[in-house]
């Protein structure tokens, strides 16, 4: 029964892992990122959802061929030991950069809204420590954390009430008011914000009922898509097209639209609650990179996560100009498209190999 010890994720764990790994800081700037299509942007989350569902399928397929293996050991099996190790080390670099970019993004936001007169080095250190704590608990603790952060942050949707009251639903018309170049630009920038579900390739072997994994992940993805859809729809109702394009983190301003007599700045409440969402997303990525490092070194140690976190911290502290840094972090997301398409490549190699064996 040694193999079954690893299987820890129930159906609802899978649902919330998929759901919460998607929502990081992406949601906060989503309306701005897809503003190229103007008021028609409320349709894009649905398109993203469909794309995610389609690309999810090959991931599950390749994993179900190797039910006991995660992405990294599949890499080694399919591509051969050395090729696999090289690819895995590239994955580690990618994960470290994506972690740095996610945390940097959030901390910058924290600085502009909540901690305007403080330096953020110390908050980053504390954030990373909490992160390591969650990750060392294993994938089940991450899943539980995801469930908790979902229920803590879903309440923020309530604060959209005032913007809905004030908004004009007629903004959603006319439907499909964009051309192809606008759509292409919006898709390219916006699709990054739904990344996260691809980590199913890493935690797949831990799922108890692997046959239902596809269904559960799809449910999780669509919960997130619904949240994205509501947010973009309300943004479209509340803002003018110019505002959609020019306001940074417009979702925070949506929270501010209301009047509560006992809180002045609901956006700060929002930003600070958002740390749960960022923690759950980054925990997922850190755990994945830890797994990758384990497969590279062929052993499992707790201090691996400290090494990785130190690497993340170093990347964030690289003394280069903000401009280059931002460009670097932006481009790292394009690599994510490769990761989405990676299982297709694996499938092709897998099938060729199978034929050769025959």
């Amino acid at each position: 029964m040694n193999t079954d010890k690893r299987k820890v994720l129930n159906g609802y764990h899978v649902v919330f892992l998929a759901q919460n790994l998607i929502i990081g800081t992406g949601l906060l700037s989503l309306p701005q990122k897809i503003s190229a299509v103007g008021y028609s942007q409320w349709m894009l989350p649905i398109v993203f959802g469909i794309m995610a569902t389609i690309t999810l399928w090959p991931m599950i397929w390749i994993n179900s061929k190797y039910p006991q293996e995660n992405l990294f050991s599949i890499n080694e099996k399919v591509l051969g030991k050395w090729m696999g190790k090289i690819v895995n080390s590239l994955f580690i670099v990618y994960f470290v950069f994506i972690l740095a970019s996610l945390i940097d993004n959030y901390m910058l936001l924290m600085q502009t809204t909540a901690l305007a007169e403080h330096s953020i080095t110390l908050p980053i250190v504390f954030f990373l420590l909490v992160l390591v704590y969650i990750v060392n608990g294993g994938i089940k603790s991450i899943a539980r954390f995801c469930i908790m952060s979902f229920f803590l942050t879903i309440l923020l949707l309530f604060f959209l009430r005032w913007s809905i009251e004030k908004g004009e639903l007629s903004h959603i018309f006319p439907l499909f008011n964009f051309n192809w170049t606008e759509l292409e630009g919006a898709m390219r920038k916006g699709f990054m914000s739904i990344l996260g579900y691809e980590l199913i390739m890493v935690y797949f072997p831990y799922i108890i009922s692997q046959k239902k994994a596809f269904k559960h992940t799809v449910i999780g993805v669509w919960i997130s898509i619904t949240i994205y859809f509501i947010t973009t729809l309300v943004s479209v109702m509340y803002y003018s097209e110019w505002q959609l394009k020019h306001i940074d983190y417009s979702v925070l301003n949506l929270l501010k639209a209301g009047n509560l007599s006992f809180v002045e700045r609901i956006d700060v409440l929002g930003v600070t609650l958002w740390i749960f969402l960022v923690l759950s997303t980054t925990a997922g990525y850190l755990w994945a990179s830890k797994k990758s490092l384990e497969s590279l070194l062929s052993k499992s140690k707790h201090y691996h996560s400290y090494i990785l976190v130190a690497a993340v911290f170093l990347v964030m502290m690289i003394p280069i100009e903000r401009e280059y840094k931002e460009k670097l972090f932006e481009n790292i997301f394009y690599v994510s498209f490769l990761m989405i398409l990676w299982p297709l490549f694996l499938i092709v190699v897998h099938l060729i190999k199978k034929k050769q064996v025959r």
Partner: protein, 371 residues
């Protein structure tokens, strides 16, 4: 065991490293001057007079509010100047009201300043704006012996209340929204200082960045009713009926509902507006006073009020057509059916060619408890 060891080392290092960071100059709360209201007066194209009101918490001071004025070219430069004069660090985090004088509104200077304030992260989006007839600085400096401190007085006054609901209660978000949305033009309340009090007496209408006209409260009420606000201010009507002569009445509006439909034709635009209001007849003065306990008389009165409101709306739309502005957002009903980018020019064109078909339905729910 190693995990705990590593964590404690990291924590220790982090704590001791924090000592190496430069000491941050944090200002304690009692040394901060929180600007509550800010006013703007036009001097010439480049220069303006900036006045801020900061609440005074010291008990020894004779006045509740400290006022600073500077002449400046840039908003932020002015704030630095003011800080030099003040014994506190002046910040805008608690800004509630921005007043601009008529001239700076007409010249477009006010729009630029509000834009730059909107960009400022420390300023909230719910800051209320108003146009002042006359000098804006005077409003802040004047004495209001029986009123609370000016900061509270102003922000309470400009907050939408039922009785003054004609007041469009424009905040930074509304201002920027209407400025940047091509289908709608900006409006904001206009106030005037009378001795010892501030009066809300109209609505300033903007054409793009510049103010063009101050509308009467009656017109502002029409704007709000047509924008689809469900609760609006009491309606005061003075009618001149053929057979009954002069009649004055006040209708406490309880509910209003509007439906606007366009004919989707961009060459000869036409909208049909259906306005349904219901309310209580609060007061009536005129020849029909005795008959109003009868159902038929009420129905007849409703019809007359319908016609009167319809005429008012017609007159108002005529005015908009002449000015080529759209504070209601009527052109949104055309933009909805237009594929491509909508521009302000198109709004102007639609408004200047607009035809309308108004129907009003007033229901008087009750006339009070006396028979």
């Amino acid at each position: 065991m190693t995990g705990k060891y590593v964590v404690s080392v990291i924590v220790l290092v982090a704590i001791s490293l924090a000592g190496c960071s430069q000491k941050e100059q944090k200002v304690p709360l009692e040394d901060v001057g929180l600007v509550g209201s800010l006013s703007l007066d036009y001097i010439d194209e480049d220069q303006m007079k900036l006045t801020v009101a900061i609440p005074q918490y010291s008990k020894e001071a004779k006045k509740q509010t400290q006022i600073y004025s500077v002449v400046t070219e840039l908003m932020s430069e002015g704030m630095v100047e003011i800080e030099k004069n003040s014994h506190k660090k002046v910040i805008l985090n608690q800004l509630r009201v921005v007043l601009v004088d008529e001239e700076s509104a007409r010249s477009g200077q006010a729009t630029k300043v509000i834009r730059s304030l909107y960009r400022n992260a420390e300023v909230a989006n719910k800051v209320l704006v108003a146009v002042v007839k006359g000098n804006a600085e005077e409003i802040l400096r004047a004495e209001y012996p029986d009123k609370p401190a000016i900061n509270f007085y102003l922000s309470d006054l400009l907050q939408a209340k039922m009785n003054t609901a004609f007041n469009p209660n424009t905040n930074f978000h509304d201002f920027m929204y209407t400025q940047t949305n091509p289908v709608i033009d900006t409006i904001m309340p206009s106030i005037e200082g009378k001795d010892g009090l501030i009066e809300l007496n109209g609505v300033a209408l903007f054409d793009e960045e510049k103010m063009i006209k101050i509308l009467s409260p009656q017109d502002a009420l029409i704007i709000q009713a047509l924008q689809g606000r469900k609760k609006i201010a009491p309606l005061y009507l003075s009618m001149n009926h053929e057979s009954y002569g002069k009649e004055i009445l006040l209708l406490d509006l309880i509910h209003s509902k509007v439906k606007i439909k366009s004919n989707k034709n961009f060459e000869s635009p036409k909208v049909s507006i259906t306005l349904k209001v219901s309310g209580t007849l609060a007061e009536y003065k005129g020849a029909r006073e005795r008959d109003l306990d009868k159902k038929e008389a009420i129905v007849k009165l409703e019809k007359d009020i319908d016609a009167e409101i319809k005429r008012d709306i017609g007159k108002f739309l005529e005015k908009l057509k002449e000015l080529k502005v759209d504070p209601i957002g009527l052109s949104e009903n055309f933009r909805m059916y237009y594929n491509g980018k909508w521009t302000t020019e198109q709004t102007k064109e639609i408004i200047s060619k607009l035809e309308w078909d108004v129907s009003v339905e007033v229901t008087i729910i009750s006339t009070g408890t006396l028979k």
